[in-house]
């Protein structure tokens, strides 16, 4: 079995390489390049997912040595339980996205080199798989850098737009900012362990002095947190994700940011193994901030993909809440609760990958059909694109954590972790903090629901606002199929948690020596009480009641007699400009949280008499306060400092020689 899994994994890697090369070779023949690239990547995804499932079910890690350059320099893949879980997440989403891409890239026929795009996608997925499976810090960093660069190139696909170029540059700067911190954290580990491979880190890092561990933790948190898009390091996220082609943004948002979670888990659970209490508190705090602010900025957005990008920051916040709670439980030696929190976060990693992938594909379908992602130019698409509408609604409900979809079950587990943080702790601070964090999670959930209603309602319901929306047609079968696959995932992983728990349990067992399982329900035995949830049963009850209601109404009064007429509009005929727009929909929220959005509102009334105006101009400007209040001063400071430093750059050869001599003297003095 082990050998079979190994072969499958190698086959998957080769399929991605094959996809990349064949797409390049056939780049003259657009159609061939498309089919070759995306079929091999979806097959590769299938094999990758199967490998992961095999490893997780047999509990035997597999090791593949790919390339021995020197005895100490080896490219080796080692798939242990944690790697296998993330391999599953990456591969599963890749299958769906590849199928979707088959249809989606036809949009770029004749405009962009399809061969390059397809080969980029294959290599990007390959680099992500490498990131989560290699067991050496140097190979990890190389793969990490490749992942960042490849995604940068893919973001720049539509580089003729100035907006895209700007987004790309912000992204590439931010991702390298993060990488520096990751390199530093690995170097710190190397400095103390004298080895570079992960297994040596795992053996020795746990015994390092507490101060060193703190440094490693903080460096890795900043480094990986940047990639994950935690607030306030999220600025690249709402820029890069909308700028990239939709199938790429779907991969980036669903999967790429999860590799950062993988890194954090690897460092915290495999290397450091134990840590100070404040680690958990810091991560939990960042999680709450990311979740609440992420969605608050998100609901104000009228660009579908920007909303989804902000909601990725919010979901990373929820994952961080689980991580923070599990780190806290680890330091308080509460293994069962730690296991629950770790399960919650791992489950949410998978769930977010699935529904965010689905939603980005949905947004991509709308973009494909109408060529706009500004929801104020859309409307009425539910009649023209019924499949996309239903699939987007499923994704949206899962995003808003509504039962029976999968978003709910992991959010419930996070809720329980936070609540039991306060129930189990004797410390007054944690007792209060747990409840407040749970309330923040509730706030987040309600805002997401509002955001989804706004996005779905303005895009898909009522009358089309422009001719583009009126002429929209349903997207090709391949695109629908990719979305259906993930929509199926949202239902199955929601009502049948046993499937996922079997996988997460392997990881949880390793780190907490507690088993958290369930079949039709998520079931957590506690010291004093038993918490459980069964969405399967809830769904059955729901449908039984629904059938009873329908049957009762049929028997009692018969079928409803429906007539169709105009929408009530105070007697005047309804025109699209009368509909509520996305802007007006989020207006109450903007007004309630005025300070946060830094709103500038201008109303100009023209006409002789104020009550009978001839014309009203209404302008609403919001500013991104994190950028103006945090980043701008930083940038200004950096520029100022560089300008001051320029004073010594005189361009005069003598003065440079003088600098060198001064440095030499100082060094000699220091060494002596």
């Amino acid at each position: 079995m082990e050998e079979f899994a190994t072969r499958l994994f190698v086959l998957a890697l080769f399929l991605f390489i094959f996809g990349a090369f064949s797409a390049l070779c056939f780049s003259r023949r657009t159609k061939w390049a498309n089919v070759l690239a995306h079929c091999s990547s979806s097959l590769g995804g299938l094999f990758g997912a199967t490998t992961a499932a095999l490893v997780l079910s047999t509990k035997h890690p597999i090791v593949v040595t790919a390339w021995t350059i020197m005895p100490s320099v080896v490219l080796r893949f080692k798939i242990d339980m944690l790697s296998a879980y993330f391999l599953f997440v990456v591969s599963f989403v890749t299958i769906a996205v590849s199928l979707y891409s088959l249809g989606y890239v036809t949009e770029y026929y004749g405009k962009k080199p399809i061969g390059l795009l397809g080969s980029g996608l294959n290599l990007f997925v390959l680099s992500m798989i490498t990131v989560v499976t290699v067991d050496h810090s140097v190979s990890f960093l190389i793969a990490w850098e490749l992942m960042s660069l490849l995604s940068f190139f893919l973001v720049m696909t539509e580089h003729e737009k100035a907006e895209t170029r700007k987004a790309g540059y912000v992204y590439v700067v931010m991702t390298h900012f993060g990488t520096v911190f990751i390199i530093l954290s690995f170097l710190t580990l190397f400095f103390f362990t004298k080895k570079l491979d992960f297994s040596s880190f795992g053996q020795t890092a746990a015994h390092l002095p507490a101060s060193v561990k703190n440094i490693v933790f903080l460096l890795s948190l900043i480094g990986f947190g940047t990639k994950a898009g935690m607030i306030p390091l999220h600025v690249w996220l709402p820029r890069a994700h909308p700028a990239a082609p939709s199938h790429i943004s779907s991969l980036m948002s669903a999967v790429m940011i999860k590799t950062a979670i993988y890194g954090l888990l690897r460092v915290n659970y495999d290397f450091l193994k134990s840590g100070a209490t404040w680690w958990g508190a810091v991560v939990l705090g960042i999680g709450v901030l990311s979740a609440v602010f992420g969605i608050l900025f998100g609901v104000a957005e009228n660009d579908m993909k920007r909303f989804l990008a902000f909601s990725s920051a919010e979901n990373i916040g929820i994952i961080f809440m689980g991580l923070g709670a599990s780190l806290l439980f680890r330091s308080y030696h509460e293994p069962l609760l730690g296991a629950l929190a770790l399960t919650a976060l791992l489950y949410h990693v998978l769930n977010h990958a699935i529904f965010k992938g689905l939603l980005f594909m949905g947004a991509g379908s709308v973009l494909y059909a109408t060529h706009t992602k500004n929801i104020n130019e859309l409307g009425g698409l539910i009649r023209r694109m019924p499949w996309t509408a239903v699939l987007f609604l499923i994704g949206g409900m899962s995003l808003a954590a509504f039962p029976p979809f999968n978003g709910f079950i992991s959010e419930w587990a996070t809720f329980q972790s936070l609540l039991h943080l306060s129930f189990s702790s004797n410390h007054p601070v944690w007792k209060t903090a747990g409840g407040l964090a749970a309330a923040a999670l509730g706030l987040t959930g309600a805002f997401v629901a509002g955001g989804v209603v706004k996005q779905f309602g303005t895009t898909f319901l009522a009358l089309p606002r422009t001719s583009r929306a009126a002429k929209a047609k349903e997207v090709p079968l391949a695109m629908r199929f990719g979305m259906i696959l993930l929509a199926g995932g949202t239902v199955v992983f929601g009502v049948w948690p046993g499937l996922v728990l079997r996988m997460t349990n392997r990881i949880v067992e390793n780190y907490f020596h507690q088993s958290l399982t369930g079949h039709a329900m998520l079931y957590v035995p506690f010291h004093r009480s038993v918490e459980s949830i069964s969405l399967g049963w809830m769904t059955i009850i729901f449908f039984v009641l629904l059938l009873l209601l329908i049957a009762l109404l049929r028997v009692w009064v018969g079928k409803s007699n429906n007539h169709y007429d105009e929408t009530w509009n105070c007697g005047t005929p309804l025109v699209p400009s009368m509909e509520y727009t996305g802007t007006s929909y989020s207006h109450p929220v903007l007004m309630i949280f005025k300070r946060l959005y830094g709103i500038e509102r201008k109303v100009e009334v023209q006409g002789e008499y104020v009550y009978y105006p001839k014309r009203i101009r209404h302008r609403l400007k919001t500013e991104a306060i994190i950028e103006t209040k945090l980043y701008r001063p930083l940038i200004r400071g950096t520029v100022w400092l560089s300008q001051r430093l320029r004073a010594i750059q005189s361009g005069n050869l003598q003065s440079y020689l003088a600098y060198m001599i001064i440095t030499l003297i100082v060094l000699l003095l220091w060494i002596r």
Partner: protein
Amino acid sequence: MFLQAVMIVLLAPFIQGVIKKTKARMQNRIGPSIWQPYYDVIKFMKKDAVLSHHSSWLSIVTPYIVFVSIVTAGLFIPTYTVNNDWNFIGDVILVVYLFGVARFFTALTALDAGGAFGGMGSSREMALSAIAEPALLLALFAVCLSSETMKLPSLAVSLTHNGWDWFTPSYGLAFFAMLIVVIAETGRIPVDNPDTHLELTMVHEGMLLEYSGRYLGLMMWAAQIKQLLLLSLFIHLFFPWGIAGGFVSFLLYVAKLLALGMLLAFIETMYAKIRLFKVPKLLGSSMILSLMAILLQVFA
């Protein structure tokens, strides 16, 4: 289980009728009969429905989903008896999110016909609910903190067994916090006016404007059931006496419901509706009360 479903469905219009009657008497009106909500529901079910040309299948499906979601949520709220058999399916978080499903579909379908009134109600509802939800969770948490579970049936048991005392200050604060949330969630004055169709003030009614016939009937009935459930939740958290089961506790339960309903009617008569943008402050004060209740419990 299904007995409870039938009970809450049938009892809900009665409570609504009593509240309306009480309100009418306090305003020196005769008011409609307390059975009027039943006549309304029956009448709506038999009427033909008028739908908008622009609406989609959502307009037809939503009333059913909303109604059934709320009844399903009702199965996890103990009323006059504690049924532990179905305890494993879910807890109060599931209840909150099932109410969320109902609200989500109501707000979504309000945009379906394209009228501005629907959008107005929908956007207000979602903005206010975003603040009401953490307030509800905090108030629940303030009560649940001592019994260490979010399972409602276990909550009553531990509340009554652990020397439950209404007169602890923490409980009193949580009581007022929860009362504010119940008023907000049932859409009553001072948060929303259930009797008006004036576009400047309406929230929930604005979303129901395009419904008619059976669909309107289901939506209104669902709102009444939700009101009953929130009152039951309130009763369960603060007055869980005599929940042993049986006919006597059923009568006691109805009596408690009526008392609470009259209290709501009283508040509604005494106060005027406040401005929309003042509502977050009201809910904020509820959150601060809950927080104080939690702090009192934690540090005492």
